[in-house]
């Protein structure tokens, strides 16, 4: 009489489901593709805001108004907003998976990350596309010089 004995320490095998998207693989690819683009977008952002002219000392409402009425910087900022928040949110998800030990704390933290990312992408996108550079009643010395001609 023979009995079959399972091989000890059989290698871990992935489930052999044929269909379905490998989301972890696309997340891995996203981090690298968005990372390269973000290096360009964020270095450009830092150079224009902190290096040119008087840098951080020159930043005020009128400076932002000058950028957010220019379609080039509107597109730049919105792409940077979406890529950076999703890149950062996915990175934080990786850390939660690594360091949060209980299933409940992992769930709570990942929902918190998702809510923060969705809320701030929505807020940031709305701000860029609904921005009013010359708000009614604003003091003339706080708004950009082009508001005078309106």
């Amino acid at each position: 009489m023979t009995s079959t004995i399972e091989a000890p320490r059989s290698p871990y095998t992935r489930s052999t489901k044929k269909s379905g998207v490998n989301w972890e693989k696309w997340g891995w690819i996203y981090m690298r593709v968005s990372g390269v683009v973000l290096v360009v977008l964020i270095f450009g952002h830092l150079f224009v805001n902190l290096m040119i002219g008087e840098g951080v000392s020159a930043l005020n409402f009128a400076f932002v108004a000058g950028k957010l009425t220019n379609p080039f910087w509107m597109v730049w900022d919105v792409i940077m907003l979406w890529l950076a928040l999703i890149h950062g949110g996915n990175g934080m998800r990786t850390l939660v998976n690594d360091y949060a030990t209980s299933r409940i704390s992992r769930g709570i933290l990942k929902v918190a990350i998702l809510v923060s990312v969705v809320a701030l992408i929505t807020l940031g996108t709305l701000v860029v596309f609904t921005f009013d550079p010359c708000p009614a009643g604003a003091p003339a010395d706080l708004v950009a010089s082009f508001c005078k001609s309106l």
Partner: protein, 137 residues
Amino acid sequence: MPQTAGTLDSQQKTTSRRPAGTLYRGNTGMWSWVLHRITGVAIFFFLLVHILDTALVRVSPEAYNAVIGQYQTPIMGLGEVALVGAIVFHAFNGLRIILIDFWNAKYQRVLFYVVIGLWVVTMLGFAPRHLINVFSH
């Protein structure tokens, strides 16, 4: 019993400080990974705050100028050097990770020193100019 001693020695070799097949345990491979995580978390939380403060342009010019004025103080000016330092490291080390993944992992150590060198050069370009802008106003 030299035989037993020899066995112990070979076992110690298998648990050596540089195990085969991993970049991320010990030395430059591990410390670049640790720094990548720490800088990543710091940048993420700054990003959350930075979107909220920039959103104040939609509230009023006074509200935005009040908060951007805080970014122009000496203490925050020093904080911005730390922030840019974190971003520059994360950026260059991220490119290093891409090169390790898609090009050749055997250059990871020399690439780490390239990252450190580029970081020093970039910060030498940024920090003096930024600190002059902060402290001369």
